[in-house]
Subunit: 315 residues, 2 copies
């Protein structure tokens, strides 16, 4: 096919992927019609790095800092104070407090997020996000976010497409925060991006779609299979994820007669990718053993991790 | 391109469609990149007949009659009694009463609709709907519903695709009631079918997606642009509808730099298609004059209306 998994080491994992793809796209036992070859991919930690924090939080903090610069009184209260002072510890503790039963700080954050887009034309948000991606640098890599994409996964997307698959992103991240860059970074167009969503309303005066001040749904855990059905209307035959929020999507996919469930495991100590972590993936790793998910070891199965700079231009 | 609008008469409407499509798909002024050539189509009354009643009501009444046959006590109460007795007047009056401020009968109907699928696997509903389409006959035409499709619109779908367009259905009808047949009838796959939706939930025990007992949203009027953004993430450049519920979708589409808004007008008295009607389209016809929608006159612009029987097999 002229498309190969060159950033994948020659391991049983790579062979299992190739065997599966060749079987379902062949004409022997296990063949699946092209229209049913649907593959779904989590985004943060699966298609690109999610460390030290999801990209979207970087954008949100920038927005809050800009709001406080325009209206200085905001800088005295949270979450704007944390944004102005670069106090990521406060942001992290807000989430920790939430899991400990205290939603007060998280509510401040969500209120500020919804407040920043309420009434905004979706096309203006799209422009704002695109501008962020043009200028922002990944906080530890120091490169544009485009270079935080996992090269083996981009190769897998192209390999699947070359075998008749349709690939979708199914992420807990905000759908409209991903759409402006998924075509360029991953070759996945906006209509194939599934994610969490803020409410929307139609403004008849301007004939525009605008964000409401309410949250619509969080596309994580058991919501992922629901959104897959809503958006695609088919059960996938391949799914890839990396965390506890992907378990249901992987299990749902395994309900197909032929299926492959991939769980990316960040276990590489060589410094090529993210430092090793299991946090947030403990249940998924346990489920992998029970349900025969195929573990993709960054250490053993990937011969390189990030897209070489500028290489994506010729992809 | 080898694909032509042969069921369209040579009128200014046909020429306006062709001029638009050639302009946006050409390389001169007004060219639109292929990825942005999105077209959206209402279903009932636009792609196929909606008379004497939307197809879905036929299915629902059959389901209620079957439920009453299995559990005879149901036949004594509405809406099952109306289904058993073929009392379509009662069903119509329930809707009339709703518009007059009395929701009591409509609530009985909605409760029975939601009750019939609550807890059901979406794949079982898909099978039930597919079986309906295999056996049901259109109530006045006496043919399979496949032959109630408007041939000029199928030609338009193919003509647009031949010019790089992606075509979607955006209907007030139930999304999952359309999906089982849109590939075969219209060449539109399930992931491009947007419609009204019953709530869904993921059942972790069986790893299946099932219907909830709640209604999620009605994809009509101002909800259509919202669902278009949710599902596609782009503003269409062509839209076609036939009723008041399509006004917002048509106006939203006209916000694109290049756009064409088509309003099908059922004005044919020759007996080739539906008997003429403006009911439910009064506001849309008024908006057409104000906003330069292109009226598609069934009488003047279509040289034939229905797909010749069996012809779709070779499409």
């Amino acid at each position: 096919m002229g498309i190969s998994l060159t950033s994948w080491a020659d391991t049983p994992t790579r062979r299992r992927i190739i065997d599966f793809v060749e079987r379902v796209s062949g004409d022997g036992p296990g063949a699946v019609p092209a229209a049913e070859r649907v593959a779904v991919f989590d985004n943060d930690g699966t298609l690109w790095t999610e460390k030290p924090m999801p990209t979207q939080l970087h954008y949100i903090v920038q927005q809050w800092a800009a709001a406080a610069a325009a209206e200085p009184a905001l800088a005295d209260r949270q979450p704007y104070a944390a944004a102005v002072n670069g106090d990521f510890a406060w942001l992290g503790s807000a989430v920790d407090k939430h899991y400990a039963g205290d939603d007060s700080d998280l509510k401040l954050m969500i209120g500020a997020i919804l407040g920043s887009t309420a009434g905004m034309n979706v096309l203006d948000y799209e422009k704002s996000v695109a501008e962020f991606y043009r200028s922002a640098k990944h906080m530890t890599l120091g490169t544009p976010y485009r270079d935080a994409v996992f090269q083996p996964m981009v190769e897998l997307l192209r390999y699947l497409e070359a075998h008749g698959f349709s690939c979708y992103i199914v992420s807990g991240g905000d759908r409209d925060f991903m759409r402006p860059i998924t075509s360029e970074y991953y070759g996945i167009p906006p209509e194939r991006v599934i994610g969490s969503a803020v409410g929307l309303s139609y403004d008849a005066d301007s004939s525009e779609v605008r964000y409401a001040s309410t949250f619509d749904f969080m596309d994580d855990g058991p919501v992922k299979p629901v959104r897959i059905w809503t958006r695609i209307g088919r059960r996938p035959i391949l799914a890839a994820g990396n965390s506890n929020g992907d378990i249901e999507m992987l299990r749902y996919t395994q309900g197909s007669q032929e299926s492959l469930a991939l769980l990316i495991h960040h276990d590489d100590t060589s410094g090529r990718g993210d430092a090793p972590y299991d946090s947030g993936a403990e249940l998924a790793l346990a489920a992998a053993a029970e349900h025969d998910f195929t573990i993709v070891s960054v250490r053993d199965d990937w011969s390189s991790v990030f897209v070489p700079q500028g290489a994506a231009d010729t992809a």
